[in-house]
């Protein structure tokens, strides 16, 4: 009954506006999670194809997914369009970060002019969406994706499901637009607790020796819609839509992930290349969970991989390179594994494949835990065995340990094996909030009181010394998620600024700067002065003669 007030032309226009608004909304959200800066040009003369007078590119696969999810329907009461953004680590753990909801409620604005006011307000709402997508926590995460994790998106239509966001999630409203058939609302619910562990217990499965690759496998879980990486890019689809390619030309690998139940994680790798048409072919890669830092590098933008791994001939598959939990291979302080005894032995990173294989050197192993160490990285030929290739490994079950990363942050002096790792078992430990000690405890801010000093020289020595004295003892829990030194390039080279900094950030203190020794030697020097003077006085004639020879 409420629609009889709207004439048919207006109704048609409104439906079209809502449909394209939904499609553009998805584009903005996904593009904002690609991990790169977006840039489009203004055009003073209208091109006729830029909906809502905004230059928003259309990534064909994203449009395709959105249309598939909508299946010809429009958002209506109880039928919302949702874009779910989630994060997947190199080990296969995934976590929902945000749900963007485009909803419709019953509150109608009969008076509003469709072709004019509604259209302009939808345009304004898209601008707000552009702004808001940069300020939720997932934005910064998505800008750093690629090494340790990737960002995925999933579109669904129907009821909004927010229970994957953990406790205490927050909501931000992007905006609303009233229309004669209802009010459109756009909002985002986002997780704030990054250390949340999924309620589905992460079951370990024994590693599979060798890799199973099934071509053209139907997705085993048809009820859930597939996840897609947000770092997908392609140029020129056969639909005829071409747009300027986004960034530099890259080898493209699109990967579709089916949502996995706890017992299994099925990765499907889609072959995609510039020349190939719409990526439909999927290869399924069954990857054992846990114990294997063997994962997909979805974005091959910066690292080029050799597809030599896994015995797969196809040169088009961009292959995962190992993650030693995704860190710089050369950094020695990389891996921590909670042993069964509760101690903290170190375990090696997994064998690498591809380009980084040769650079992979395993973390140092503490001698107390002999069985867990594997000293040799596997070479790139050794593709079939995916387990820890050390003789120490008795059974596959030994592999079932959480391997994750604990980076020692700046200003920490403590060697790693003394750091207590309490909640080690959570999959997303690397995202655990940094526990910065209070400033009061920071010796950098409040240097320890200096003792009474005699000479001013001693006093100044002391103040230099104290700043290095006890730094770090209070910083056990300081965990740095990422360290990107300013103006340095990506961590591609074996030794770059970041690595250099990490390796040399805690040099031992100079002995001369330590209080006691410094003070002692100074005191000694002062005491010995009179003696030295007496000796020199005795030899004064020699000195005079020497001086004369110089003149």
């Amino acid at each position: 009954a409420m629609e009889t007030d709207l004439n048919s032309q207006d109704r048609k226009d409104l439906d079209k506006f809502i449909k394209f608004f939904a499609l553009k909304t998805v584009q903005v959200i996904v593009q904002a999670r690609l991990g790169e800066k977006i840039c489009t040009r203004s055009s003073s003369s209208p091109t006729g194809s830029d909906w809502f007078n905004l230059a928003i590119k259309d990534i064909p696969e994203v449009t395709h997914e959105a249309k598939k999810a909508l299946a010809g329907q429009l958002p209506a009461v109880g039928r919302s369009m949702c874009v779910e953004i989630s994060l997947k680590t190199s080990e296969g753990d995934s976590m929902e970060l945000e749900i963007w909801c485009l909803e419709m409620n019953e509150k109608c604005d009969k008076e509003i002019k469709v072709s004019y006011t509604v259209y302009n307000r939808l345009s304004l709402l898209l601008k707000s969406l552009l702004a808001i997508t940069r300020v939720t926590p997932a934005y910064r995460l998505s800008r750093k994706q690629g090494h340790e994790y990737v960002i995925l998106y999933r579109i669904y239509f129907g009821e909004v499901q927010l229970n994957g966001l953990g406790e205490g999630f927050q909501t931000v409203r992007v905006g609303t637009v009233g229309t004669p058939v209802g009010t459109i609302t756009l909002s985002c619910a986002y997780r704030i607790n990054l250390a949340f562990m999924s309620t589905r217990q992460f079951e370990r499965t024994p590693p599979i020796m060798g890799i199973i690759i099934d071509h053209f496998v139907d997705r085993p879980y048809p009820s859930s819609s597939p996840m897609h990486p947000c770092n997908y890019r392609t140029t020129g689809e056969d639909t005829g839509v071409t747009y300027p390619s986004v960034e530099d030309s890259q080898e493209v690998c699109t990967t579709s992930f089916s949502t996995s139940p706890p017992s299994q994680c099925v990765f499907t790798v889609t072959k995609a290349h510039f020349q190939t048409p719409t990526p439909v072919v999927t290869d399924t890669l069954r990857v054992p969970m846990a114990g294997l830092a063997f994962s997909h590098q979805l974005s091959s933008s910066r690292l080029s991989y050799q597809p030599a791994a896994l015995g797969v001939e196809s040169a088009d598959l961009a292959y995962p390179v190992v993650f030693a939990a995704g860190l710089n291979a050369t950094h020695p302080h990389q891996l921590m594994v909670p042993g069964k005894e509760g101690g903290v032995p170190l375990a090696p990173s997994q064998p690498a494949h591809g380009a980084q294989a040769d650079q992979e050197r395993l973390a140092t192993c503490s001698p107390s835990d002999g069985a867990r160490c594997a000293a040799t990285p596997s070479s790139s030929e050794d593709t079939e065995t995916v387990s820890n290739s050390s003789e120490g490994r008795a059974s596959p079950h030994d592999v079932l340990e959480t391997i994750f990363v604990r980076k020692v942050g700046a200003f920490v002096n403590k060697p790693i094996n003394q750091v207590t790792l309490t909640s080690l078992d959570i999959p997303f430990a690397m995202f655990a909030p940094k526990n910065l000690e209070l400033e009061d405890a920071d010796p950098m801010v409040n240097p320890p009181d200096s003792p009474e000093t005699g000479s001013p020289l001693q006093g100044s020595l002391h103040s230099e010394g104290s700043s290095r004295g006890s730094s770090g003892n209070t910083h056990d829990d300081f965990v740095m998620i990422d360290f990107k030194p300013a103006f340095s390039k990506d961590d591609i080279l074996p030794m770059d600024l970041g690595t250099f900094y990490r390796e040399f950030q805690n040099p031992p203190q100079l002995s001369s700067l330590s209080i006691d020794i410094g003070a002692q030697s100074m005191a000694e020097d002062l005491d010995s002065l009179p003696e030295k003077l007496a000796v020199h006085e005795k030899n004064v004639r020699e000195f005079d003669a020497f001086v004369e020879t110089l003149q």
């Binding site: 977006i38 055009s43 230059a55 709402l125 808001i132 940069r134 910064r140 609303t176």
Partner: protein, 218 residues
């Protein structure tokens, strides 16, 4: 009609002033700019396309979106630069504020000059803090970034209220509502001014009124 007034406050380190202000100003102008109008014969018009781009801040962990118009960006950077210089040279407490005012021109008959009627004013109060250690600066980068996120959400909230906006003008009236002088975008008529203030908010130095566009017709 009353003029809407919104006030935002930021506490930043000296070198963050420019980026924090640009982030706020550009976010507001993103919402208050349209494509260029092209009027056609029957009194209808078509609107050009507005592009957008991400800008990463160097001194703040933050990225904002601005319209793709280098002219507009230059104009904003110019006035923000002047504000920064004034802050530095004033030697005061490091307090100042910048106002972005949207207005309409109302033509009056000669000899009366045109009126400028503001309909929305955004004021950003800036407090400059000095930090001693590198660790404090690192924390400040992140904290200011988080604060700016909140500011953006506040701005968007205001924009979403869909309160008064000038009517879309006819061709003869367009320059009373929009700034048509830019090549690629068309913001509503605006002017930017700033003051250096003391702790009470009153101006201690000569108020510098920096007008970006011709406003006070003589």
């Amino acid at each position: 009609m009353n003029c809407r007034s919104e006030v935002l406050e930021v506490s930043v380190e000296g070198r963050q002033v420019e980026e924090a202000l640009l982030a706020v100003l550009h976010t507001v102008l993103l919402h208050r700019s349209t494509g260029k109008f092209h009027y056609k014969k029957e009194g209808t018009y078509s609107i050009g396309t507005v592009g957008t781009q991400d800008v990463d801040c160097d001194f703040i962990d933050f990225t904002y979106v601005r319209v793709s118009s280098d002219e507009l960006d230059r104009a904003l950077r110019k006035v923000v630069g002047e504000f920064q210089d004034a802050l530095r040279s004033s030697g005061g407490d490091g307090l100042g504020q910048m106002s972005l005012e949207f207005y309409q021109k109302k033509k009056s008959r000669w000899p009366f000059s045109d009126e400028c009627i503001p309909w929305e004013v955004w004021t950003v109060k800036v407090h400059v803090v000095a930090l001693a250690t590198e660790q404090e600066r690192q924390i400040c980068r992140e904290k200011v970034g988080e604060k700016l996120c909140e500011k953006i959400i506040n701005i968007v909230e205001v924009m979403n209220r869909h309160e008064y906006l000038p009517k879309m003008p006819t061709q003869s009236e367009v320059d009373n509502v929009f700034d048509t002088g830019l090549r690629d975008v068309q913001p509503y008529l605006y002017k930017i001014s700033f003051q250096i203030t003391d702790a009470l908010g009153t101006s201690v130095t000569t108020t510098m009124r920096r007008l970006i566009k011709d406003t006070l017709a003589l």
